[in-house]
């Protein structure tokens, strides 16, 4: 035992069972997916070669990236406004706003997507309402296209964008903004030169969160896109369940994982990730 503890600190022995558990049930399947992507249907890089050869796959990846990017921009901009309003509201209204946000956060994505189906359909509330007040002559196509997918995804993602931003904004010292006003800067200057730069860690954190979550979105594109807007997650499920090409599915899964890790790595070169995920201001 003494010989053992000389080489391995006792702390490691304590965490060893949990470490093995994580390796077996988390890392194991990941390696399995990587393995599948290289061996199914036949050993080699065949699955990965499809990325350059298949137009359909390239289109799906491009659609996914575009929708995720647009979703991220809208969610973060709207989330920024909400977070700002919540942080600077009175305590009582702040509690109300947070409760409403969390209710929407907790409602199942399926329910929220079907709610949009009701609202945005040909005879939905939005179309019939706009027709009734004479804003439009015939129903606008909100669904079975990218617009519908974007509306549903942005709506789902806003709470995810708000929470890291709020955590960031709450750490800011209001006296710093007061100092800017005192030194002669008007509200716009104070926001642009002091507030916005100090909330960059929050913006990065919420952008990363929203973008990464959007990459794996399945339910909303499937329902609101109506099969016309195909994103990676839905394509993977088709490969798994319909065409049974597990190798392709595994390759796409690996690709997304690498993409997320690459994103984190690029960000880590510009700022300390602990600042981003700690949500704190740079001091």
């Amino acid at each position: 035992m003494q010989a053992l503890t000389r080489y391995i600190s006792p702390g490691w022995l304590l965490v060893a069972p949990f470490f093995l558990l994580v390796v077996a049930f988390y890392l194991g399947p990941l390696v399995n997916i990587l393995w599948l992507s290289l061996t199914d249907p036949e050993p080699g890089l065949g699955n990965y070669r499809m990325l350059t050869e298949s137009d359909a796959l390239a289109r799906i990846l491009w659609t996914t990236l575009r929708i995720c990017a647009i979703t991220t921009v809208f969610s973060v901009v709207i989330g920024y406004c909400l977070a700002y309003a919540m942080v600077h509201a009175h305590q009582k209204s702040q509690n109300w706003m947070l409760t409403l946000l969390l209710i929407s956060f907790w409602i199942s994505v399926l329910v929220r997507t079907f709610a949009w189906l009701m609202l945005l359909g040909h005879n939905g509330v939005v179309n019939s309402g706009m027709e009734a007040i004479g804003l439009i002559d015939r129903p606008v196509r909100f669904m079975r296209n990218e617009l519908g997918v974007l509306i549903g995804m942005v709506h789902y993602m806003i709470p995810y964008a708000v929470l890291p931003l709020m955590a960031n904004m709450q750490t800011l010292d209001p006296r710093v903004m007061a100092a800017s006003r005192n030194l002669g800067a008007n509200g716009v200057q104070t926001f642009r030169r002091i507030y916005l730069p100090l909330t960059i860690p929050g913006i990065v954190a919420s952008s990363l969160l929203v973008f990464i979550l959007s990459l794996g979105f399945y339910v909303t594109p499937a329902i609101l896109g109506g099969g016309r807007v195909l994103m990676v997650a839905e394509y993977i499920s088709v490969q798994l369940l319909v065409t049974l090409r597990w190798g392709t599915a595994a390759m796409l899964g690996t690709l997304m994982l690498i993409g997320v890790l690459a994103l984190l790595w690029i960000m880590s070169r510009f700022m300390r990730l602990t600042t981003v995920f700690g949500g704190g201001a740079t001091r």
Partner: protein
């Protein structure tokens, strides 16, 4: 920057209420141009609220603030051109020291060359010339305090407001910075309005002190006037220490260091009270005796340590004496 602004401020019946709570209550005050005025009071006395109203961060409930005779009641904070050093400094953490100091000129759209020259000048004034490229997080507390001062003075404001600027510093550094502040005040001649709850700071730096309590001015005067002639029990107890004695004509305040102490019979015919020493505390330069006197509260006596002619010890019977003019009769309140 308005050239006409020279820094004389008048507060007339200034009042601030938060709901039913009156934080500043009907304050009339004439602040002379170029003076170092300290607002001194315990927390909750309204001194910071008063400063925030002068800075323009809080609306005025009643009354007015006049700068060189003209009302600035409706002038927003960013148009008042008052410098301010905040509690905790409130430096911009993402900017360098130079950017912090130049900020006020930058947002006024001044030419680059002018800003650079002026920043150099200010950094020299606060002796931070070699730290221009650092971020505030890389500076010590004392250095940050000087950056805050340079940042607030860069646009030559007629009035500089300071909100407990030394609160975060340790005691030794605080004394050093007090001297620097006094020196800078003398050199630039700006009106300084200084908020603190530290009576030593107030005494050592100010031209005049305003003692505040419950949103009102308790007493206003030079440090000497306030220390030698406190008008109320609160003023006598808050600025320095006092013993309170009930005499035939009312309550008197008596400073500990103005009392003579000697063994029984040692004061000849000048003894006024006698008692026993309950406790002795040694402070280096001073010794403090707590003397229990029959039928009264304990009386505190302060004596220069080196002067201590009689080897007094705890439990000893002593007598106390003081000159007639040493005790000050207080107003009833």
């Amino acid at each position: 920057m308005s050239e006409a602004a020279t820094g004389g401020l008048g507060l007339t019946t200034l009042t601030k209420r938060f709901g039913g709570f009156t934080a500043v209550d009907n304050v009339d005050l004439e602040i002379r141009r170029g003076e170092f005025l300290t607002l001194l009071g315990p927390s909750g006395s309204g001194k910071t609220t008063l400063l925030m109203m002068i800075a323009g961060f809080l609306d005025i409930t009643e009354g007015d603030i006049l700068l060189d005779g003209a009302s600035i009641r409706d002038v927003p904070a960013d148009k008042r051109n008052f410098g301010m050093v905040f509690q905790g400094y409130a430096l911009f953490p993402h900017m360098t020291v130079r950017q912090n100091v130049g900020y006020a000129l930058d947002v006024r759209g001044r030419p680059k060359a002018e800003i650079e020259a002026r920043v150099d000048e200010m950094l020299e004034l606060v002796q931070l010339s070699q730290f221009g490229q650092r971020k505030p997080g890389q500076l010590s507390g004392g250095q940050q305090q000087r950056v805050a001062l340079a940042r607030a003075l860069v646009f030559a404001p007629p009035v500089l407001l300071l909100d407990e600027p030394l609160g975060a510093l340790d005691k030794k550094l605080r004394v050093e910075v007090q001297d620097q502040l006094k020196d800078i005040h003398k050199r630039i001649g700006t009106t300084f309005i200084y908020v603190t709850h530290d009576q030593e700071e107030a005494l050592s730096m100010s031209d005049r002190i305003v003692i505040m309590q419950n949103g009102r001015i308790e007493q206003l005067g030079t440090p000497t006037e306030l220390y030698e002639k406190p008008r109320t029990r609160f003023a006598a107890g808050f600025l320095g220490k006092s013993n309170f004695l009930e005499m035939a004509d009312g309550t008197h305040a008596l400073r500990p260091e103005k009392i003579d102490i000697a063994p029984q019979g040692g004061l000849g015919g000048n003894a006024r009270l006698s008692g026993t020493i309950r406790d002795i505390t040694y402070f280096g330069a001073m010794k403090k005796y707590m003397v229990a006197v029959e039928g009264r509260e304990d009386i505190e006596v302060g004596v220069d340590s080196w002067r201590n002619p009689h080897a007094l010890h705890e439990g000893q019977s002593v007598e106390l004496g003081w000159a007639d003019h040493a005790s000050i009769r207080l107003e009833e309140n």
